[in-house]
Symmetry: C2
Subunit: 243 residues, 2 copies
């Protein structure tokens, strides 16, 4: 093996290394999404606590990715498609960290909601919405590993459904609050939870856009579905889909 | 001038160029914050529309900064403090873009709130909170230009006040909703507005952390004030300060 080959393969290992970190981080975030939803539905304070504590590992990976990508840039001066890999890893790690934060917030609100009378049907509705985002993230990560721009495009389209689910919940919670003022505090928290899930969907969308960027060299055109085309109606939330 | 000097000064111009873009982006975001708050208080639909439309320019600058920073990395292979400048510009541009999005969302909700009975005192409270975030951003940008890590640290501390203001509003809006169910829809929107401003503060904090990183080479210790030390009380919002 000559000197040159040696350098090239160390470089490849660096690039594989940062990508392995992103996949690892994605796995932790997937688990956090599933667990915060389960904690809410089963009113399981231990699991909620576990999600809150687990966010530290996600933040730690972000830090590690920040250091690794800075090191790769400084040491290897990547260009063209290698630079795209490094830049996309940096962006995707930020999206994953935000999704992890939202899961942590949901887990905190789950702890608070434990002390209140449950709102009928809310746990199931939140679970379905969370499940959809979790599957979107799973597919986005698979698309990343496979460099599958088509699958990534499907993920982006699916965010529309999450926005619709959010809008339905927005109306439902408003109705519950109006029916009985004793529901107001619990519904406020459920509302923020639904909004957080909707935002998770936006970040999965941004992540899927990076998959397209890294696979094709181009960002998708700005035709991302946004549910804010009806900004003047007052029954659905006018800014769903906007993160 | 020899060849070498020529290269160095073109490099310096590149670094100055990306930093000028960040300062320009920061200026637009400052204006967006001030205007969305004014639109809400004066019930000025034209101004709200202007903020919504103006977000395109902010997004455009983000894109330009993304392209410029990628170009500088590919062309100049920056290391040490120059790499810190480029990386911090990338991160700060993301924070500014998010703040711009929140201003746009507030402007959208301002349009919706126009069609509802005003909630007494809410506009003034939101204005004071927005004003604080606007001043924090102004100081963070000044700290960036001056490489003033101390001023950046003061900005980070001030986010605590924004969190407190948010918590006070959270309680106030809950009370309004319980007093009269006809207030619920308007209060929900005001609530999200307050939450958006609180999140703006979190992003200004993240931006100030980058100022410290670029000025000193180190990120501040994780002692960022967060108002979530009381996760079990149900009267304030348990997750204020968490973005």
């Amino acid at each position: 093996m000559n000197e040159n080959q040696h350098i090239v393969s160390a470089y490849d290992r660096d690039l594989e290394g940062v990508q392995a970190l992103i996949v690892k981080m994605g796995g932790l975030v997937e688990t956090a999404i599933a667990d915060c939803s389960k904690a809410l539905e089963l009113r399981d304070e231990d699991l909620a606590q576990q999600v809150r504590a687990g966010d530290k590992a996600i933040d730690g990976l972000l830090e590690q990715i920040n250091e690794e990508t800075a090191r790769v840039i400084a040491l290897r001066a990547p260009t063209a498609s290698d630079l795209r890999v490094v830049l996309s890893v940096m962006k995707m790690s930020n999206n994953l960290e935000r999704i992890g934060d939202y899961a942590k917030n949901i887990a905190k609100r789950a702890g608070v909601l434990l002390q209140m009378t449950p709102i009928d049907g809310s746990a199931g509705a939140v679970r379905r919405m969370t499940r959809e985002v979790e599957l979107m993230l799973k597919d986005a990560l698979d698309a990343y590993i496979q460099r599958d721009a088509e699958l990534a495009a499907v993920v982006i389209q699916r965010d529309k459904e999450v926005d619709q689910m959010y809008n339905a919940l927005f109306r439902e919670f408003l109705t519950f609050m109006m029916e009985d003022p004793r529901n107001i505090t619990a519904c406020m928290h459920l509302h923020f939870i639904a909004k957080n899930i909707e935002r998770m969907g936006d970040h999965v969308t941004a992540l899927a856009e990076q998959v397209i960027y890294v696979s094709t060299g181009k960002l998708p055109e700005e035709d991302r579905p946004k549910a804010d085309s009806t900004p003047y109606e007052t029954h659905g939330d006018p800014v769903a889909g906007d993160n």
